[in-house]
């Protein structure tokens, strides 16, 4: 707070009130959307985002949510201003757009925005984005590695008017109802987005009535200026230079023998920071592409995290960031490249941008995390509910990398997902025919280090119906990497065991996989990479991890060089000293 820059024309109390009122408005939009929703992926998981924008589409306030859906939300409004035009927008209009090439993410994420008028002038916008559980494509839920173009993903809305001056456009409602597999859920979630738009509009108008447009405009300008200044101060403290990092995706789900290169260069020059994606893979045949707004979003997320992580964001915080991205890359894909499994590319790209940044600011960046949304989309007919169609999925957590001063966190949803939550087992089993047998920390999954990575997740469940799985698990070959002598962690895996007698088979990227109640589905996710040499980890901390059952006695010996009694959990100090000395010389 104390570093905020003086803004001459704005009294600081009013500025703070406007700032927090805008944020409260965005957050109330989120609450409305979540609480009015029909799909568990919205009301439990929060696979949706909300924000308030100025008349040009600059973000005034964004409610915490999934960073990858959030940071580029303004692109929806800006694209609408260009393609529809402000002059054609009327009070009460709501437009929808899911064009992934311009708006990023994938076509299942439906952006909806609504102009806000005050004293007959268009002064601001609300915007939301929510995952529609179905948009009528080739497969239920729209995710399949055999999808080869955008048309198979489902219908495309490019600034379609869903509400005209406050009235639902009935032809559009009918079109949606006739073209999705779960019309009640999709239309219910759409109405929840409408509720959020109305809530945000109401909040904005109240604020305008109270202060007038001049004060709000001045406050917005001051907020942008302060946000920019804070971010510039942070960048200025980083050493100038060029920092390059690379990683890879296992494959694109089509050519299984080919890694997909993820290469990023970061340049810091004074108070400006450039993320250059020129060396990234070109767009690929498999559906793991996404549009240019996501390239911006990935860079913006990493940038925010290392410059002003605790400030509620607005447009200003991102002004010192410059993104270089040629068209036709995997994250600036062009039509008709398929995008439905876009989430396979985001996390690894974030991890890679952060790896480049870590060379400049090593203390601020942890080792790599498990790096994926290991997503299992399940669809079928629910025998408990008149054989009605169901589609479900949920975020799967994993380990985060060790930090320069402490261990990484365990079983947390990936960087891409942010504030998104799990579906509680009790809710899941109510809504869907699934039975979870266990859900636990994955033993020995962490990247060893002086500060070890967090632990991954392991769960087993059965689908209580004849169903199909659409599986998308990335970062199986590309393990979460360590930093500064820290080791890599175990990686993500998904397995099916058809019969108790049979061996479980690994299924990573596949579609139309039939399962029944006799099939055991096993998800195992990676831990976080280690930070620093594991032989320097205090032996008593290793013993504590053994005592709590996070790691085995065997792992304590091989990964950390610590010998622990399996019952008393006491450390054999002498033998440990010898072993560690030996491991230091012959790693």
């Amino acid at each position: 707070m104390s570093t905020a820059v003086e803004t001459p024309i704005m009294d600081p109390v009013t500025l703070q009130i406007v700032r927090h009122s805008l944020l409260a408005g965005a957050e109330e939009m989120m609450v409305s959307l979540k609480r009015a929703a029909y799909g568990a992926h919205i009301y439990e998981v929060e696979d949706c985002v909300t924000g308030l924008f100025d008349a040009q589409g600059n973000s005034l306030a964004l409610a915490p949510g999934s960073p990858m859906m959030l940071v580029d939300l303004g692109a929806i409004v800006r694209d609408g201003l260009q393609k529809v035009g402000a002059e054609k927008m009327k009070p009460g209009d709501i437009f929808a757009s899911n064009d992934p090439y311009v708006l990023g993410t994938h076509s299942s994420n439906m952006g909806m925005y609504s102009p806000i008028f005050f004293e007959d002038r268009l002064v601001a916008f609300t915007a939301t984005r929510a995952h529609w559980i179905d948009t009528g494509g080739a497969v239920p839920g729209g995710k399949s590695f055999d999808i080869r173009d955008i048309w198979q993903e489902g219908f495309q809305f490019r600034h379609m008017k869903l509400f005209d001056r406050g009235e639902a456009v009935e032809d559009m409602m009918q079109f949606i109802a006739d073209n999705v597999r779960l019309p009640e859920t999709v239309l219910g979630d759409m109405r929840a987005q409408v509720a959020a738009a109305k809530m945000g509009g109401r909040r904005m108008v109240t604020l305008l009535e109270k202060f007038g447009t001049d004060v709000i405009d001045a406050a917005a300008a001051a907020m942008f200026r302060q946000g920019e200044e804070l971010a510039r101060q942070a960048v200025s403290r980083m050493p100038d230079g060029e920092y390059r990092a690379e990683a890879y995706l296992d494959n694109d789900g089509v050519s299984f023998d080919t890694h997909v290169p993820i290469v990023v260069t970061v340049r810091i020059d004074g108070a400006d920071l450039e993320v250059d994606y020129s060396e990234m893979s070109a767009q690929v045949a498999g559906p793991i592409n996404t549009g240019i707004a996501s390239a911006q979003g990935i860079a913006a997320f990493a940038f925010k995290a290392i410059t002003t992580p605790h400030e509620p964001p607005n447009e200003g915080h991102f002004r010192p960031l410059h993104v270089t991205i040629p068209p036709g890359k995997i994250i600036s894909a062009q039509s008709p490249a398929p995008t439905c499994w876009w989430s396979k590319v985001t996390n690894t790209t974030i991890d890679t941008v952060l790896s480049a940044l870590a060379q400049a600011v090593p203390l601020l960046v942890p080792a790599a995390h498990f790096g994926d949304i290991p997503l299992i989309m399940v669809s079928g007919r629910d025998p408990r509910h008149d054989n009605k169609q169901f589609i479900f999925f949920q975020p799967i957590p994993g380990g985060y990398g060790g930090r320069s001063y402490e261990d990484g966190e365990s079983c947390t949803n990936c960087l891409h997902e942010g504030a998104m939550m799990n579906i509680p087992v009790e809710v899941e089993e109510h809504q869907f025919p699934v039975l979870t047998e266990y859900a636990t920390f994955r033993t020995d999954s962490e990247g060893a280090g002086k500060y070890r990575g967090g632990f991954g997740y392991e769960a087993a469940y059965r689908i209580q119906a004849d169903a199909e799985l659409f599986v998308g698990v990335e970062r199986h070959q590309c393990h979460p990497w360590g930093v500064d002598g820290g080791k890599e962690a175990l990686s993500n895996d998904f397995l099916l065991q058809r019969m108790p007698s049979e061996e479980a088979e690994s299924v990573l990227k596949a579609q139309h996989v039939p399962v029944s109640a006799s099939t055991l589905c096993l998800i195992r996710t990676g831990g976080g990479g280690g930070y620093g040499n594991p032989l320097e980890r205090p032996a008593e901390l290793v013993a504590e991890d053994v005592r709590l059952g996070y790691i085995t006695v065997e792992r304590a010996r091989t990964a950390y060089g610590v010998l622990i009694h399996p019952e008393s959990f006491g450390v054999d100090l002498e033998a440990t000293r010898h072993l560690r000395r030996r491991l230091e010389t012959t790693p």
Binding site: V13, H20, S21, L23, A24, E28, S32, R35, A36, A37, Y38, E44, P64, S66, E184, T185, G188, R191, A192, A195, A197, K198, M199, R202, R203, T206, L207, A305, P309, H310, P313, L354, L364, P366, P395, P397, E409, S410, C411, T412, N413, E417, G418, A419, M420, M421, N422, P424, V425, E426, V427, E429, H430, L435, E437, Y438, A439, T440, L548, G549
Partner: protein, 685 residues
């Protein structure tokens, strides 16, 4: 003749209010909180006042015992018994990162570590049907493992137990049989809703608290009995209602924020008396400051509360008043960190040893020492003269900090106060500005020992124009405890389509709930004039979250169901800005609140005077250094001797037995007929 008594234990002081129901006379006192044995301060307070305990028929109590145990993690060894395969649910939480940009985030740390979380073979389906029968042998062998440790309390939370509590009850019975001296909390006795993480956390907190809070309440009960008390003891709940001592011993999770709830209850009562609808309740004691928003005469209650904050705190799913709390109070210690920045709190000197000026061995400079040094506190009249403050000790402590900062002692003291005030303002912003409310539209009611001392400065910071300091602000939370009602809440899950439900059937269901409620109240509270409030959780078919719709008393005629659906559409429209009139609606839960009103104290009126305070109330002049650094000779008044209608213009200090109220330049205070001070900050600096 009968009396009512309320005692509120805070972090620094324990406060007592006695109310005589025949004369309306109120008696106040306070005593230093005795952290090693909280009941000592209760006895000390009782011994200070001329109240015959055998005349007291009602004793209402609030205590910090619960919150302290959780925050300081001083509870006993607690175990968790849960369904096989799910012991890590409690540690994984909802797996989210609420602070989405923070790469250096930390997840909440559970109260029950992994080696004390045990699994038992059993499994229910979501319907409550038994999929795997409870393996009692498995449980008994687990209990032998638990027995080998010093486990004092066990939380039992099994999957889907909200739908069918039988397995939990059987587990509870077996534990009682095998480990008779170990406390047991069953999740199904606390909270009957799904979401296993939040229910586990709520249950674990209750289990963690039972040994500590239960023993505390028994000691309290026995000491009060020894002193001659024969009446009924009620405990303040975090929701603002009261419950019996026996119920609080079983469910201490409901009384965690009992003291702050007393202050909010008092604010609601005061506001309704003064005709104020919108208020900020601001409570500052020795250890913490709290703020709660009152809008249209209602304080918000939440069942989505996190102890210790949303990002790393513990979820509790029982009703709490929506109060924001920060670690800054009169006893908060000021420190200078390694980069030379002056900080205040969160550590507090508490009551023992207390601020340096208490001269009880405390060496750290606190907010109270700073107030003394700038002249706002009178060393001779602290606690009505019961305690002399040692100016030299206070000065030494503040000077030591000042030397490290290169500041004079007075500038250091003012710096401490300005930082503390900014922290209070930030806390109030959380319940106003950050929710889109402008504090300038609210009256602030300030209480707690240190609240009045900082109220004008904090109000100025926020732009608040009007401030009310109630009579005896130091004991206001205790007084508030005498203004609450008995409130028992009942619920029944009753999923039914509104269109298919007969109005008579709905009325029958509520009547059955009322019968059940009457029986339980008779058992627990005794019969009285019970008022019932009916409501229903409703939603559109296919929706998940519900909205509460309040229903009138029965019986209902045939057309009522349509009206009920219409009320839901209206509520949806009001909450979300749209209603789907063609969509079918359904009822999920029926709720019944049974309220027995307790008669409220009537404040005695004070003598009527003129604009000018009487000479007897004038204590002369004292040099006071104000926040802007100017030292000004300021008039000093004794609050207890002020008369209705008196006006005081700043700079002035109004002293009373437990507190001090600075009135800045340009600000004016007016005394109302009950002795409340109304301060206008218009034109103040």
């Amino acid at each position: 003749m009968s009396e009512r008594l309320a005692i509120d234990i805070g972090g620094t002081f324990t406060d007592l209010v006695a109310y005589r129901t025949d004369t309306g006379a109120l008696t106040f006192t306070k005593s230093s909180t005795t952290p090693r044995e909280l009941t000592n301060a209760v006895v000390a307070c009782v011994n200070k006042v001329a109240v015959t305990l055998s005349d007291v028929d009602l004793f209402v109590h609030g205590s910090t015992v619960g919150i302290n145990t959780i925050i300081e993690r001083t509870g006993p060894i607690t175990a968790l018994v849960t369904t096989k395969g799910f012991r890590d649910v409690y540690e994984m939480g909802r797996r989210n990162r609420p602070d989405i940009w923070d790469l250096l985030f930390r997840r909440p740390r559970p109260l029950v570590p992994r080696d004390r979380r045990f699994e038992v073979t059993e499994r229910l389906a979501a319907t409550g049907a038994v999929l795997i029968a409870l393996d009692e042998d498995d449980l008994r062998s687990t209990l032998r493992q638990i027995e080998a440790t010093d486990t004092a309390s066990i939380a039992v939370c099994l999957l889907h137990s909200y739908a069918n509590p039988e397995h939990e009850r059987r587990v509870g019975a077996i534990i009682k049989d095998a480990l008779p001296s170990t406390y047991v909390t069953l999740s199904s006795d606390i909270h009957r809703e799904y979401r296993e993480y939040e229910r586990t956390s709520t249950t674990a907190i209750n289990a963690y608290l039972i040994p500590v809070v239960g023993a505390y309440l028994r000691r309290l009960d026995s000491r009060m009995t020894t002193l001659g008390f024969e009446g009924r003891t009620l405990i303040m709940q975090s929701s603002g209602g009261v419950m019996t001592l026996e119920a609080a011993s079983r469910q201490p999770v409901r009384i965690i924020e009992s003291g702050p709830a007393g202050g909010v209850a008092g604010t609601l009562w005061l506001c309704s008396m003064l005709g104020e609808g919108n208020a900020i309740a601001f409570d500052m004691g020795g250890t913490t400051a709290k703020a709660c928003l009152i809008e249209n005469g209602q304080a918000k209650v939440t069942t989505d509360y996190y102890i210790g904050g949303r990002i790393t705190g513990h979820p509790v799913q029982v009703p709490f008043l929506d109060i924001i709390e920060i670690g800054a109070g009169g006893g908060s210690i000021a420190t200078v960190d390694t980069v030379g920045a002056l900080n205040v709190g969160p550590h507090s000197a508490g009551a023992e040893p207390g601020p340096a000026c208490y001269d009880l061995g405390g060496a750290h400079a606190t907010v109270t020492d700073a107030n003394l040094l700038v002249g706002k506190l009178d060393p001779e009249r602290f606690l009505g003269g019961e305690m002399k403050l040692n100016e030299r000790r206070g000065l030494e402590a503040v000077s030591a900090l000042g030397e490290r900062l290169g500041l004079t002692p007075v500038d250091t003291a003012n710096g401490i106060l300005r930082i503390a005030n900014a922290m209070m303002a930030a806390a109030i912003s959380k319940v106003t500005v950050e929710r889109g409310f402008d504090p300038r539209d609210f009256v602030m009611v300030a209480y707690g020992g240190a609240g009045p001392m900082h109220a004008t400065a904090v109000a100025r910071e926020l732009g608040v124009q009007r401030l009310i300091i109630p009579q005896a602000p130091g004991q206001f939370s205790a007084l508030g405890m005498l203004t609450t009602d008995f409130r028992y809440d009942f619920a029944q899950t009753y999923p039914s389509a509104t269109a298919n439900l007969a109005a008579t059937e709905l009325d029958d269901r509520f009547c059955a709930l009322e019968t059940e409620a009457r029986a339980e109240l008779a058992n627990d509270v005794g019969s009285g004039n019970v008022r019932f409030v009916r409501s229903a959780d409703m939603r559109y078919v296919g929706q998940f979250h519900t909205l509460v719709v309040v229903l009138p008393d029965g019986p209902y005629d045939d057309s009522y169901m349509d009206r009920l659906a219409a009320r839901f559409h209206q509520a949806h429209e009001a909450r979300y800005g749209h209603a789907a009139l063609s969509e079918p609606t359904q009822i999920i839960n029926l709720r019944l609140a049974a309220i027995i009103q307790l008669s409220k104290p009537a404040l005695p009126r004070i003598d009527v005077g003129t604009d000018l305070p009487p000479d007897s109330a004038r204590l002369g002049m004292r040099r006071v250094t104000w926040e802007d650094g100017t030292e000004v000779a300021s008039a000093i008044f004794q609050r207890e001797l002020l008369q209705s209608g008196n006006r005081i213009a700043g700079p002035a200090i109004i002293q009373e037995s437990a507190s001090v109220i600075p009135i800045g330049r340009g600000e004016t205070a007016r005394v109302d007929e009950f002795g409340n001070l109304h301060i206008s900050l218009q034109g103040g600096n």
